[in-house]
């Protein structure tokens, strides 16, 4: 009894506190805090260049001799130099037609060299930021959300409308949609609506659906080293025996297209050459018979049951492929593997027949075809075709647009002839927003910009993405969700027009020399980082050097792989032994 009496006041206090809190009305989000350290508005443009001496960095100190590249170096850079405070020179070993497109990619946002050095000891640059972009980092609650606040001194013409930008995440499309439908600030926009929910969103008067143009490819891959797919005639027969339109019509969301080429047609050169084979089942069966195909055996088809932007319905497509093969008289046995296993095995060429795809990063042929069929391609398709790789190497550095188109025409025709894979479709996707949100876009590249989005009468924009951001040391990030965050905080030298694939000047405008092996970039003057420091050429050199040089002290990030850099620019300086 006495024990009860002793605890009673505390229990009453607890209950009263809980009731008081629960009934205390809805909690109002705190007003977005402005960073007190934020600098006053800067004077943009035409500030006197350098009234004080400026020591420009050159990286490396001695430029790479392209004729005698160091052992293991496969990259395209010879050197990167700060010519003066506002001029950067990129020297290349060979012309790179897609150079500006690559500069615009999110991993190439410009970092503050001094700030990076200051935060190097504890690696805090992975979880905090100092960019020049429209939003500034405020907080990251691990597992829950990231909050950004508007940069009051943003140099760009379009100042951020929403004063607070919050990124949340949920790993299923259903959960994201539920949060959007719940309203009350739970989410103002969501990424990747499930195709089955397109109509739900369209029919909801409180929501709007924005289609993301198809910039992907889903393909049925062959390992051309493995029987029976090592016979080109067999692969050509299958290429005619698969009804790609049926797959597209049945399983893909509106806006998706049947793929007649590997690369989407919005990429120059993507749709040069002959279209893919027309569907002709009878001809396919006859070709298989002519090739002495063994119809008595059961063959394996592999896929992973993981929804991707390019693959909205993996089991459905796999089963339809199985059914279409059955129509050709071929029995397939379907196998599934989890994500990690599948990607590892497919890249090593362990699957003879498999479904995989690609989402475009930047609008150039090299992004699609070089990774899959170029010299650096993995072993998924088995042996490489020398005629294709030679053309792709040529195409990557051909400055003449007409000649380049002709090269890709030949390459596309050779892909069609050799059939290392069958391009199935370019799947579209969509984002959804509350109806009162304006200015929202869905970029084909996935790099949506949020500072021009107006969240109705609210000051806070909440966007729910697929997964938690991995890190904010953007050169070392590789997932779309992290890079989307990066794009709001950091500015690259060039950028993609909002919602489009056009490449436009951003922090700089660059000019090539006549043979395309040197780019001189002139920086905008008066641009300041979030902590008030001035942007200058050394920041640009450092931002690239930390990615390029695998032995740079700042080449240490979240994952430490910096895997986009070699994919974009050919390879690391001082590459790690593999």
């Amino acid at each position: 009894m006495s024990r009860t009496r002793k605890w009673s006041p505390l229990a009453v206090f607890g209950v009263v506190a809980i009731v008081f809190s629960a009934c205390g009305g809805s909690a109002t989000p705190a007003p977005s805090s402005q960073t007190s350290a934020a600098p006053p508005p800067s004077v943009v443009a035409s500030a006197p260049a350098s009234v004080e001496p400026y020591t420009g960095l050159s990286y490396p100190a001695t430029a790479i001799d392209c004729a005698k590249k160091p052992a293991g170096y496969t990259g395209e850079f010879s050197s990167i130099k700060a010519v003066d405070r506002y001029t950067v020179e990129f020297d290349l070993c060979a012309p790179d037609v897609a150079f500006l497109s690559k500069l615009a990619f999110a991993t190439n946002g410009i970092q503050d060299a001094d700030w990076l050095a200051k935060h190097a000891p504890d690696k805090s640059y992975v979880k905090t930021t100092n960019g020049t972009g429209p939003y500034m980092f405020k907080e990251w609650v691990s597992g829950d959300h990231i909050t950004l606040t508007a940069n009051p001194n943003y140099w760009g013409a379009d100042k951020p409308i929403a004063q607070t930008l919050i990124f949340k995440w949920a790993d299923t499309a259903e959960k994201r949609l539920q949060d959007l439908q719940a309203g009350n600030g739970t989410a103002d926009g969501i990424d990747n609506v499930a195709p089955d929910d397109f109509d739900t969103v369209k029919n909801d008067p409180n929501l709007q659906l924005i289609n993301r143009d198809a910039f992907t490819i889903l393909y049925l891959g062959f390992n051309v080293d493995k029987a029976p797919w090592n016979n080109e005639k067999v692969r050509q027969a299958i290429a005619q025996g698969i009804d790609r339109k049926r797959i597209n019509d049945t399983f893909d969301p509106p806006g998706s297209e049947v793929a007649d080429y590997f690369t989407p047609c919005s990429v120059p050169g993507g749709c040069e050459g002959d279209k893919w084979y027309d569907y002709n089942k009878d001809a396919a069966i006859q070709m298989l018979k002519d090739a002495n195909f063994d119809f008595s055996k059961t063959y394996d088809l592999y896929f992973r049951p993981k929804v991707r932007g390019y693959f909205p319905n993996p089991p459905g497509v796999a089963q339809d492929i199985q059914a279409q093969f059955k129509d050709l008289g071929i029995t397939l046995k379907i196998h599934t593997e989890d994500n990690a296993t599948y990607l590892g095995n497919s890249s090593k060429g362990q699957y003879s027949l498999f479904l995989l795809g690609w989402g475009g990063d930047y609008p150039d042929m090299t992004d699609f075809v070089d990774y899959h069929f170029g010299t650096g391609a993995n072993g998924a398709f088995g042996k490489k075709f020398d005629d294709i790789t030679a053309l792709l190497t040529q195409g990557a550095s051909e400055l003449d647009a007409t000649k380049r188109l002709d090269i890709y025409k030949q390459a596309n025709n050779l892909i069609r002839q050799h059939v290392p894979m069958i391009p199935l479709n370019h799947a579209a996707s969509a984002v959804a927003y509350l109806k009162d949100v304006t200015g929202a876009q869905a970029s084909p590249l996935g790099n949506d910009v949020f500072w021009i989005v107006k969240p109705g009468d609210r000051t806070q924009l909440v966007f729910e993405q697929n997964a938690e951001t991995s890190g904010l040391y953007c050169g070392d990030e590789s997932d779309g969700d992290s890079l989307r965050n990066c794009e709001q905080i950091y500015d690259p030298l060039y950028t993609y027009a909002p919602g489009k694939t056009d490449v436009i000047p951003n922090l700089a405008s660059c000019q090539p020399n006549t043979d395309g092996t040197q780019w001189i970039c002139t920086l905008k003057q008066g641009v300041k980082f979030h902590d008030g420091a001035d942007l200058d050429a050394n920041d640009v050199v450092t931002s690239f050097a930390v990615q390029w040089d695998a032995k740079h002290p700042l080449h240490v990030g979240n994952l430490g792989t910096f895997d986009y850099f070699p994919a974009l620019f050919g390879g690391f300086l001082n590459p790690p032994a593999s």
Binding site: A17, I18, S21, A22, C23, G24, G25, S26, A27, P29, A30, K123, V141, S142, G143, D144, H145, T147, I166, K168, W169, A170, K175, Q178, D179, Q181, A182, G183, N184, T186, E337, D338, N339, A340, T341, Y342, L343, G344, S347, L356, W358, G376, N378, Q460, V462, S470, G471, S478, D479, A550, N558, L559, G560, T561, D563, P566, A567, P575, P576, S578
Partner: protein, 358 residues
Amino acid sequence: MLRYIVRRILLTIPVIFGILTLVFFLGHVLPGDACRAILGERATDAVCAAYNHAHGLDQPIPVQFGNYLAALSHGDLGTSTKSSQSVLDLLIQRLPVTIELGLAAMLFAVPLGIVLGVVSAYKRNSIIDVVTMAGANVGVSIPIFVLGLLLAFIFAILLKGTPFALPPSGRLSPGLTIVPLATSWGLTDWTGIPRGIIEFLSNMYTFNALVTGQWAILGDAIRHLILPAVALGTIPLAIIARITRSSLLDVLGLDYVRTARAKGLTERNVVRRHALPNAMLPVTTIIGLQLGSLFGGAVLTEGVFNLSGVGRAIFEAISSRDFPTVQGFVLVIAIIYLTINLVVDVSYAFLDPRVRLT
């Protein structure tokens, strides 16, 4: 008693070592690798080789296990291969979420389950008993994720705009920020274990808000906890109600209860003072077991309600082959589970004087 407790604690050491060994080797025999799980389609052989080397994943598995045990003996749980964050830091961030959720679920399940069980026993074979036990059967049968989605749909979407609306995900409304305890209490210069404990408590939002008087945060945090706690607590609630009922019915049939009635006590007093305390022994066991099993249920509940707790962290870590995180979290869960079992066993001695722990 003390000898018993010490013996039980010593016995947990081989159990924990067994769990560690099993989890480590099971994790490493899984096909697939961390690099490709994290980097996806863009992972090249060269990049993955460098990644594996940087994280020590290219060493023989026994060597990795030896390194892991050596680090563990120094209290180092390792570093996440996915986020490069210390596993201990991850635990400090994620474990409080699950503990808060588990406690809220038990706060819902235990009192209500006992009351329903007692009422059912007290009104045996009445319509109340039938309805309660039928409800308990439904509660046990319905999967957590179904119930969770259903609750979220009803309270977040159907009841949107009404006073009954509840948030379907997260811990706080977007834009709300809780002040850490270290800041509230002026302890920002603390480091090491004391700081870790402060951070841990700080991440239990309801506790933090309650002790620092952040009432708006407390209210919002409770509103966010209601649906997941109900979803997670429904199965324990149903089980506790059924066990309470059957245990109480057993006790009510014993001689000493008949004697109490013969003495002229009211039925209410017979149940409350004489029958219920003795009927609580098996209920205590069940509550202990359910508390431990909440970690399993939390995987689903945290997924449905988008809570960043231990369950979701383990699921994500397994998917991305983040072995240090899986091992660290499983180790801590095992210790918690064993501790709960020990507490339940020890509590017998207090609840039933006939029980002697030796």
